[in-house]
Amino acid sequence: MPEGDVRIMEINTERDSGTLIAKTGGRVDGTNASEFQDALKGAIAPDDKAVILDFEELSYISSAGLRVILLTAKDMRTANVKFAVCSLSQSVRDVFTISGFDQIIDIHDDQQAARSAVSS
């Protein structure tokens, strides 16, 4: 990696009756997507019944980031864990729309809507 290009990925998590809410901020792109993937993997516990990614503070996601979302969605489906994302900024939502990922990933306007969707 060249100097100064690495952005450290931080994921803040909280749990509420079996639902993991993971918040990530900044940018997810080719330079840090694998870190994002590792951080996410580390955050999800085997007994989580649902996982919500809250993207309120996410300013940008590239296709490398979308791949991590896709991987997570597939893993969660296999493990029978509900999975949703919420609170996308307009530009992040555009990335989901253009790639067609809005048709395969459960997206909600805010955390409240996501919580009630995964608990139903």
């Binding site: 590239s62 979308l66 791949r67 067609g100 990922f101």
Partner: protein, 392 residues
């Protein structure tokens, strides 16, 4: 580096075909490269004979093989070649649009294919591309042996990426095509391609693979080859994306995916039909420099899930109108204060300077993006393919 003096280094190519007329034809059509010492050819007439030659002659770099042959066919031969020498690269000669065999050949390690009847110019381009790839691949293996840093692997990936991009563009009555890419230093998976189709139509593709590194570069390679194969086998862009999507979903354990915009241009009528697999929509620029994004067709990126249909849409390109296909590296290029380049800035370029040629339009876009970014490191490849209908 494996390439020494490109002019004098001889590559030995084994041609396998049961058609006896092919040998004199190849020797005749490739005579310039044979005389200069760049290529040396050996011939076999079926798979069994080919394997005998390969075992006897360990200098062979590359195999060009027909599929249907007596005793041992080309697909069976492909399975056997790596057992003799895993570094040999193969190109298959297939019937026009025979995707099933092309896909099988790719699965068995073929690098590329050419179609019958053989176009010798195309064959030579394919041979050169394969030889370039082979050199990069040998280098990749050497770096792996040495367990060198990730950066080296990324360098190799970017060389593989460069080796699959077209280096020349078709010229025809009434249109021009020009494409280019500014690669990001260590990430990115863009590619583009221009394919000549039946009835003088042109297929244009711009794509973006979701990951980086050597596995992504290999995924890119197979996406490109499948796209090319499907493009010349089908007419409709929607069918092409649907087929490539299904093929990419077979054994996609890495969960990589690729966004693709694929358009077919008919120079006779100016009609452009396109389908979109999760990619940015092309921009149509009018002679006065005003422009609009083509309507969305709503497809999902390829490789995500099988059995998808891709809707397509058509527009007519009139004289002096320009179609710009690009990747998100253009629209999402960032400047020092974190702003994105955006589609509006892209449109602004042509409002100020309406396109005069395909190449000029392409260069104007790449320059505007890099001026905008200033010193901000490029986080993604910037790719742009321009089609322009000239005065009719």
């Amino acid at each position: 580096m494996v390439t020494q003096d490109a002019q004098t280094y001889a590559y030995k190519i084994l041609v396998v075909d049961d058609e006896p007329d092919l040998e004199p034809l190849i020797l005749q059509r490739m005579r310039r490269n044979i005389r200069s010492g760049r290529y040396a050819f050996v011939f076999a007439h079926n798979g069994v004979e080919a394997l005998e030659v390969l075992q006897r002659d360990t200098d062979i770099d590359m195999v060009v093989s027909d599929i249907n042959m007596p005793q041992m066919d080309g697909l069976t031969l492909l399975e056997q070649i790596p057992k003799v020498d895993p570094n040999i690269r193969s190109v298959i000669v297939s019937a026009y649009g025979d995707m099933r065999n092309i896909r099988t050949a790719m699965n068995r390690g073929a690098f590329d294919f050419v179609t019958k009847p053989l176009d010798f110019e195309d064959l030579q381009i394919t041979i050169e591309r394969t030889l370039t790839h082979m050199a990069e691949w040998k280098e990749a293996l050497q770096s792996r042996d040495k367990l060198v840093a990730i950066q080296n692997e990324l360098d190799v990936a970017s060389k593989i990426q460069q080796s699959i991009l077209p280096t020349s563009f078709p010229e025809g009555d009434g249109y021009e095509v020009y494409g280019n890419m500014l690669p990001a230093r260590n990430v990115g998976g863009d590619f583009f391609d221009v394919v000549l189709l039946e009835n003088d139509k042109i297929g244009l593709a711009v794509a973006d693979v979701s990951d980086k590194g050597v596995p992504a570069a290999l995924f890119m390679m197979s996406s490109r080859t499948l796209l090319k194969g499907s493009a010349i086998g089908h007419g409709a862009p929607g069918d092409v994306l649907s087929e490539v999507n299904d093929l990419l979903n077979e054994d996609n354990e890495t969960f990589m995916f690729v966004t693709v915009i694929y358009a077919v241009f008919d120079p006779q009528t100016g009609d452009v039909t396109y389908a979109n697999g999760g990619h940015n929509n092309p921009l149509l620029v009018r002679p006065d420099g005003s422009s609009e994004e083509l309507p969305m067709t709503g497809g999902i990126a390829l490789g995500v899930m099988p059995d998808l249909e891709y809707r397509q849409n058509s527009v007519t390109l009139h004289a002096d109108e320009t179609l710009v296909l690009y990747t998100d590296g253009v629209s999402e290029a960032m400047n020092s204060v974190g702003e994105e380049f955006g589609v509006e800035r892209l449109q602004q370029i042509f409002l100020e300077h309406p396109p005069t040629t395909a190449r000029a339009a392409n260069e104007a876009i790449l320059k505007a993006v890099s001026d905008f970014a200033g010193g901000t490191p490029q986080s993604d490849d910037v790719t742009c393919l321009v089609l322009r209908r000239t005065g009719v």
